[in-house]
Subunit: 272 residues, 2 copies
């Protein structure tokens, strides 16, 4: 893979890269299409990275529909489906860790303590192997995308990071490989997170400027759905992810809820 | 700098890189000459990296003879002297940290708790900027070189790491930018570290196989010099830097002493 990339770069071929954990859906498809339009060569990695899962998380049962994933990549004109194995990524003696501590400490990082070190390290490795000029990430994993942007700036990787809008189901549920864990009733209940974000945005558009007031509106919305439990539902700075004292020019509404055992995240950027 | 490197790589020019903190001596010169012979383009960085110094260490007084350093680079045919500033390397908001925890935990890492995270992070940044195919490090900083090798393998950087033999003064003292801190009497006393390593090597060559016995011989040698205080003086595995139970096929003798306020390190690889 690295030799292929090195050769292409010599030939001035631009390499676009979409790192994924497979179980590809229309959110991934939108990243792949955006990359396809902007690059000569397009690499999609499919790697369920064990180091970003906690011990009680869903690593073993994470969906791995590799045949469908390869078919989607073929359909979308992907040049290389890069499918490394855990043993090739983390051989005996592997130990290096990349962390982005300030961005990683909050929200998803609080709920999933080693998650973002796993993400930062695997993204660094994948960038080293694929050597892309451009890498695309979905806004649904907003904190992850913010972390990758910071990482790339801090470590002087010559990779442009493009964050693409969240792709949603008809009823607003953000597409996620984990949505397939939802029972039919819970699948219906899951839209409550999106509706809470909409309620928060509406409140801001109507003039709300106090963070607790907007948070309360979002929490009350989720409270209407008995199957849902809030993990966090907050307003923060879109770059640093720090909590805000007041609604700012650009505000990020960010949330995680549980529906039964399934954990869902979503977010919305709001301009005042 | 990064754009220059990118252009050269497209033209299939091989880039060699010698990262330094300046105050260049014949040890650096030997790295530069070795690189000069093996690469088309040669970059030397001169950057006294603040993040690898502890709060009680010699960051402020670290020698910065930039005019002489540039002259040496010119003499040796260096193409680019890369001299970033701390503000350009660590702008507002910088936070990413690279660690190599197992190699970093012992020896120098124990004496200098954040030193190796500073080294690993700045080396990652410099590799990102300079994009070398080959980087050269001196064996005098053995643990640093082992850490960089591990880092490059773990993070899939396509950089070959070449570790070159320690260059010594006539009397055996390993060349170091910090040797200039030594008073004339202490300069004489400083050779005791090299003599201790020689005594350890001799003991192994004569058949010693017990680690404590060899360590005792080295310690007794340093004990003959009243100005010297041992920080550590040990036998370890040359790849993992872990302490050895018995003298192995390849053994690393590794030590740090203080002479007055000056801290000196040295090492020797011994084949049984």
């Amino acid at each position: 893979m690295a030799a292929w990339s090195e050769q292409l770069r010599r030939e001035r071929v631009t390499i676009g890269f979409v790192p994924t954990m497979g179980a590809l859906h229309d959110g991934h498809r939108s990243l792949i299409r955006a990359a396809r339009l902007r690059c000569d060569a397009l690499v999609v990695s499919i790697f369920v990275n064990p180091t970003q899962f906690g011990p009680a998380e869903d690593l073993a049962k994470y969906p791995r529909p590799i045949t469908q994933d390869r078919a989607l990549c073929r359909e979308e004109g992907v040049d290389v489906c890069f499918e490394p194995t855990p043993a090739s990524m983390y051989p005996e003696g592997f130990q290096t860790i990349v962390t982005v501590p300030e961005i990683a400490q909050r929200w998803e990082g609080e709920a999933r303590p080693h998650h973002f070190a796993g993400v930062a390290t695997v993204v660094t490795k994948l960038f080293g192997i694929v050597q892309p000029q451009l890498a695309l990430f979905g806004q649904k994993d907003y904190q992850q995308a913010a972390l990758v942007k910071r990482l790339v700036a801090d470590l002087n990787f010559g990779v442009t990071i493009d964050v693409r809008p969240t792709i949603r189901e008809q009823d607003g549920l953000a597409m996620s490989s984990r949505n397939r864990y939802l029972s039919p009733e819970n699948r219906q209940a899951a839209t409550i997170l999106y509706r809470a974000l909409l309620a928060g945005r509406l409140a801001i558009r109507k003039g709300a400027r106090k963070v607790p007031a907007v948070e309360r509106i979002m929490q009350q919305t989720v409270g209407q759905e008995p199957a849902a439990r809030i993990e966090y539902l907050t307003l923060c700075d879109p770059a640093s992810l720090k909590p805000l004292a007041n609604v700012a020019g650009r505000t990020l509404l960010l949330g995680a809820i549980r529906i039964g055992t399934v954990r869902l995240i979503d977010n919305m950027l709001v301009k005042r």
